[in-house]
């Protein structure tokens, strides 16, 4: 009799494990996401690229890794799948910054996992990346540990993919307007270029303030300056 009870208990425990595992998969499937099995790495800086590559290759569960070189950033859109995770080192993208932001938005719509790392001290850049749909934002100084933990979560539990943001994401129009502001255009210039009313641009700007939790014009300018600093990093002056 005791023997039957032991077998019954074992079967029950195994069933529980299977159900928990399926529950995670069901959650991911409901969101249209798959567990990550491939990595697409876009990091133009040689030192960080080799470190990230070393970290990914050194994992106990190997992942298929593909690197994207700078001139072919547009190709990422054509080569991504749902079981992929796109890793981007934002600190080194330079003049491709606006393209990278648009790419993040596209990947978010396609329900593809994304991880970005930024240099420390960029408060508003982190909020902006969050608003364009980046799943996980890491600080470069913590990269060795943080990247391993995040990849572990994405490949096993899918916790990161399930995470929800409190604020709504930036729309395509809002992102375009923000990029125009960061390029130095005034609200008047933008209204002329878009053929819309001057006040409509202010309305969009107000929406961007709300989404990025910006309270004062100084915070707005600091954010634009952070964006400009990333995109003009490799210019001599």
């Amino acid at each position: 009799m005791v023997h039957y009870w032991t077998v019954f208990n074992l079967v029950f425990i195994i069933l529980c494990f299977i159900m928990i595992g399926n529950n995670d998969l069901l959650k991911l499937k409901k969101q249209g996401r798959c567990p990550v099995s491939k990595i697409l790495l876009y990091e133009p800086r040689m030192l960080v690229r080799s470190l990230a590559q070393h970290l990914i290759d050194g994992r106990s569960r190997p992942l298929w890794l593909h690197q994207v070189s700078t001139p072919y950033i547009e190709d990422i859109r054509n080569s991504v799948n749902k079981d992929m995770c796109v890793l981007v080192g934002v600190g080194g993208v330079g003049p491709n910054f606006s393209e990278v932001l648009r790419l993040f938005r596209y990947l978010k719509i396609m329900k593809i996992n994304t991880i970005a790392w930024i240099p420390s001290g960029y408060l508003y850049l982190s909020r902006l990346l969050n608003a364009v749909g980046v799943n996980e934002i890491l600080i470069e100084d913590d990269l060795p540990n943080a990247l391993m933990v995040t990849l572990q979560k994405m490949t096993t539990h899918g916790d990161t993919a399930i995470k929800r943001r409190r604020v709504p994401d930036l729309s395509q129009m809002e992102l375009d307007i923000l990029l125009q502001f960061s390029a130095g255009l005034s609200a008047k210039d933008i209204s002329i270029e878009r053929g819309c009313c001057y006040k409509t641009v202010f309305s969009w700007k107000h929406n961007i303030y709300t989404i990025l939790e910006i309270k004062t014009p100084d915070q707005w300018l600091t954010m634009l300056a952070e964006m400009a600093q990333i995109s003009t990093l490799y210019q001599q002056r």
């Binding site: 960080v48 080799s50 100084d141 600091t222 990093l233």
Partner: protein
Amino acid sequence: MYSYYVHYSSPRNIWSEALSLGFDHLAASNPGWCWSVLPSDGESTPPNLSVLDLTAELDIDISALPGSQGRLLVLVRATQKRVITALLTQSRCSLLCVDDHQFEIKDIVDCSHRHKRFLSPFVRSLKEGQAPKTSPVSLTETESKILAFIRDGKSGVEISRSLFRSQKTISSHKRNIMRKFGVSDDLALKRKLQVQEMAI
């Protein structure tokens, strides 16, 4: 078997780890060459390369740099233009910008062997593109005071309240500052101030 000794003068971080990986790759592709890290208290063997990480520094005191600058490699970021310029003009150490897209670890090793100065591509381009200093902008006492408030992120209304002047007076002073800096909007002024803080 040739041994190359590297000494990290700063606490180990992401950049020293990445640099060590570069040396590992170089050793893997050159069978007759190996490298090792000298411990910080290792007095017996002089290092072939001493690595100093200044990526977190806003300013630098050149006199505080270690003596043998021919074998010193300083790590800097692309945003630290003031530090890079000071190191370029006032010292003989090698400079590696950690934000550089492409460079060869082999060049660093070669330069340290020949006691030559290594400059990574970004630092080199900065050196070549260095323009003569522009004449400094001269501001009046009030304009300097208002500029300090602008630097602190204060709005026109807040400045007018602090200085007991009308908003129009503050606006007029701000316009004069912008004219002197040669900028036409708030973002350009912010960038100008940011560049001024970072650059020469």
